[in-house]
Amino acid sequence: MSKSIAETEDEIVEEFELFDDQMDKYEFIIELGKKLKPLDPKYMTDDFLVKGCQSKVWLHAYKEGDLVYFEADSNSSITKGIIAILIRVLSGQKPTEIIHNPLAFIDRINLRAHLSSQRSNGLTSMIQRIKTYAGAFV
């Protein structure tokens, strides 16, 4: 049985609490991106692009049993790290839980505040795309 969304969220918040310095936080985000399972190149096409990001993000979803799984890649290291975090929280969960989760951890790790400095960071678009995929699998 995989962890619940809330459990993974708490885990991520704890990990981020280790860093005081924002540069260190980013370094950690980038590391998480590097560890992301590679996306099959056949999904790296315009059909799988998340619109609204300054960088390119490809997102693919599939269902196994009751659960929805996500895979992604990006040509930006930071964006890749962010999608890796979202995947860690939401991949392998039930579609309804994915759709209705407010993802409160994003504010707890202060991610949005820092990313809003650049337009088109795509965080909102990525979350929306994940939820749209999940919606299609309900």
Binding site: Y26, S76, I78, Q118
Partner: protein, 413 residues
């Protein structure tokens, strides 16, 4: 190679920086280093105080009021027009207040263009144009069945002049070119471009958005037919800009928008239009914006445009040298004649990532396509990192930029 500070700065930058309150703050606990001047400039107290003064002392609608405040506001607004006219070496009737460069292009495309461009005619722009100097012409061409021709550029980001000459013909009706490229910094040979266009009877629009903040522009000497620029890029407010047009051309053009200010008489049967420049200024204008634009131009002239140009060239030379010391860094836009724009890429690093990590170190740059997607396509890239410098930037800030880039690269690689 170790970059040396080339020479003594030609400006007293420390003194100048005191005029810009916004520069004296911290971002992420680091002193703000603002290097996004090609997007918008910061405002000196001379401009901020002018806007305050307008609202505190004489806010009023202009031109028609019979009362004291209306008189003060009208005088200040028209005085700003005079300042701008003198600055450009234009006549006062030739200075039309608009919202910015984008509106200036649209105005000319919608009025002059609609009247004088017909099916089969050609409009010439260059590869390095901002979307604002592409889309309005495309819209006009679609409407009229005219053809948009694009001057190619070389690897350095310079217009290939021989190719331009080949595009010119009796079919050419309008040539519209940026004086200075916002994404590359290339200073185009606009005087020669204008001369050649005139030989085939075409009129020329100059996008002056990136030129006015950096150099003296004399419309009579250039002999351009139209020139647009934006207030917010020349240290004034957003929402105000100027369209210069030769009076003889403006007279022939139909109005752009209908409404108050632009009319002489209105009946339900027929409206007659006001004289220049009011014909193109429908509605209550951006009064304090116009007045503050005059103040901004006075401010620049008090420092001296020649000094500003010379100092920014020092900054550009120093910055170029400093950035090229960074491993795998490539400058995009290496024209022989350049203004203070440093567009660059670092191998295997996405511009967005570098932008975020520089922001974390208090440094504001721009990343992306800079509203020049066709130009980026031409270079086969998605975008660049762009540090664009103004006369209040310093050599020390460039040192800090180079150091911050190196730190970001360590994290990203």
């Amino acid at each position: 190679m170790i970059a040396e500070k080339i020479t003594v700065p030609v400006l007293d930058v420390e003194q100048i920086r005191k005029d810009f309150p916004i520069l004296h703050q911290s971002v992420r606990d680091k002193p703000l280093i603002y290097l996004d001047n090609a997007a918008t400039s910061q405002k000196p107290l001379a401009v901020i105080d002018t806007i305050d003064d307008y609202y505190e002392r004489y806010n009023s609608n202009i031109h028609r009021g019979a009362h004291h405040l209306a008189q003060l506001a009208t005088e200040a607004y028209e005085n700003a027009r005079t300042i701008i006219a003198e600055h450009l070496n234009a006549g006062e009737k030739e200075i039309n207040f608009v919202r910015g460069t984008t509106e200036a292009v649209n105005l000319v495309a919608s009025t002059y263009g609609r009247k004088f461009v017909h099916a089969g005619d050609e409009i010439i722009i260059s590869t390095m144009e901002h979307h604002s100097n592409i889309v309005p012409w495309q819209m006009l061409c679609e409407e009229k069945g005219a053809v948009l021709k694009v001057i190619p550029i070389n690897e350095a980001g310079e217009i290939i002049f021989e190719e331009y000459l080949k595009l010119l013909s009796a079919k050419t009706k309008i040539v519209s070119i940026a004086y200075i490229s916002n994404a590359l910094g290339t200073i185009n040979p606009v005087k020669e471009i204008i001369q050649q266009a005139h030989k085939v009877g075409a009129v020329v629009f100059i996008d002056g958005a990136q030129a006015l903040p950096h150099k003296k522009v004399n419309v009579k000497e250039l002999d351009c037919d139209f020139l647009g620029f934006s207030g917010h890029k020349v240290f004034a407010a957003t929402g105000i800009g100027v369209l210069y047009g030769k009076a003889a051309l403006l007279e022939q053009m139909p109005p752009y928008m209908g409404g108050g200010e632009m009319i002489k008489t209105v009946t339900f049967q027929k409206t007659t239009y006001n004289e220049l420049p009011y014909k193109f200024e429908a509605g209550t204008p951006h009064i304090e914006g116009g007045i503050a634009l005059g103040a901004a131009i006075n401010y620049m002239n008090n420092i001296g445009l020649d000094k500003i140009t010379a100092y920014e060239q020092q900054l550009l030379d120093y910055g170029t040298q400093k950035l090229l010391e960074i491993e795998d860094l490539k400058i995009i836009g290496t024209a022989a004649h350049k203004s203070s724009v440093l567009s660059f890429l670092i191998k295997d690093i996405h511009p967005y990532d570098l932008g975020v990590l520089l922001n974390e170190q208090g440094i504001a740059i721009r990343t992306g396509h800079h509203c020049c997607q066709p130009l980026m396509d031409n270079f086969g890239i998605e975008g660049t990192c762009r540090a664009s410098l103004a006369f209040y930037n310093t050599f020390e800030e460039i040192d800090a930029l180079a150091k911050a880039i190196n730190k970001a690269v360590t994290i990203l690689k």
